[in-house]
Amino acid sequence: MMNLDTAFSALADPTRRAILARLATGEATVMELAAPFDMTQPAVSRHLKVLEGAGLIARRVEGAKRPCRLAPAGIAEIDRWLEMLRQALAANYDRLDQVIAAMTTNENKRTP
């Protein structure tokens, strides 16, 4: 069961969101996740612990490694980002409808 409070604070950090975004492209080890960030592996591990605690990622054991992947809640979160982009664009284009309507009105006024 996902705790909303835990999930929100897990997602309120840009690095943790970037880690989720990276995991959207497939499973990765701590070393692979640390590479794009200016961060030590222990620092990345701390972020992973928060994400795991929030139910956003899952880890498995493979020898000495513990690769991470998105858990269903993490996948739903990435889908939500696409939905947020949709909403931001929809707001822009609704404004554009009004801008175009105003352009057309002005042009009609100019036409005798």
Binding site: A21, L85, N92, A101, T104
Partner: protein
């Protein structure tokens, strides 16, 4: 009525489709006239675009700067690659947050559709990882604000 569709395509693309009740000429103009762009390309409520540079010719520059009036700001730069008046715009763009994101290659087409226009915007990112990062960071400002609001409610 849902007018806008957005979907991912393959590993590297995001495709946005929207219909407008206006001629391709009007929609194209609203995408290439800085004064008009400043009125609509604003994202979340409360943001404005005080700087809008748009030089609609091959090699022409794009620079959009947004602010929320409370210290929050970011900008986008880009270059036009190809323009077919009234029907097609090809450009590259990157966000500065403040580090530049990898180039997003954007092809926008305007096709007459009955008495309106069907716009298709096809974004191409370098790879799947960059696309996922763009989806996460592109809404950084809006999202940060909503999570902060949410947290203050909890």
């Amino acid at each position: 009525m849902t007018k806008l569709t957005i979907r991912t395509e393959g590993d590297k693309h995001v495709v946005v489709i929207r219909r407008f009740a206006a001629s391709p000429e009007a929609v194209y103009r609203a995408h290439t006239d800085a004064k008009l762009i400043q009125k609509w390309m604003l994202g979340p409520e409360g943001w404005t675009m005080p700087v809008c540079i748009n030089e609609p010719r091959p090699g022409g520059k794009i620079r959009y700067e947004w602010t929320d009036g409370q210290g929050g700001s970011f900008y986008l730069t880009g270059e036009f690659l190809e323009l077919v008046p009234l029907s097609r715009i090809v450009h590259v763009e990157r966000m500065h947050l403040p580090d530049p994101t990898p180039d997003n290659h954007v092809e926008t087409s305007f096709v007459p559709d009955g008495n309106g226009t069907l716009m298709t915007m096809r974004m191409t990112l370098p790879d799947a990882e960059t696309r996922a990062a763009m989806l996460a960071s592109g809404m950084e400002h809006g999202m940060e604000a909503s999570y902060v609001r949410l947290e203050s409610l909890m």
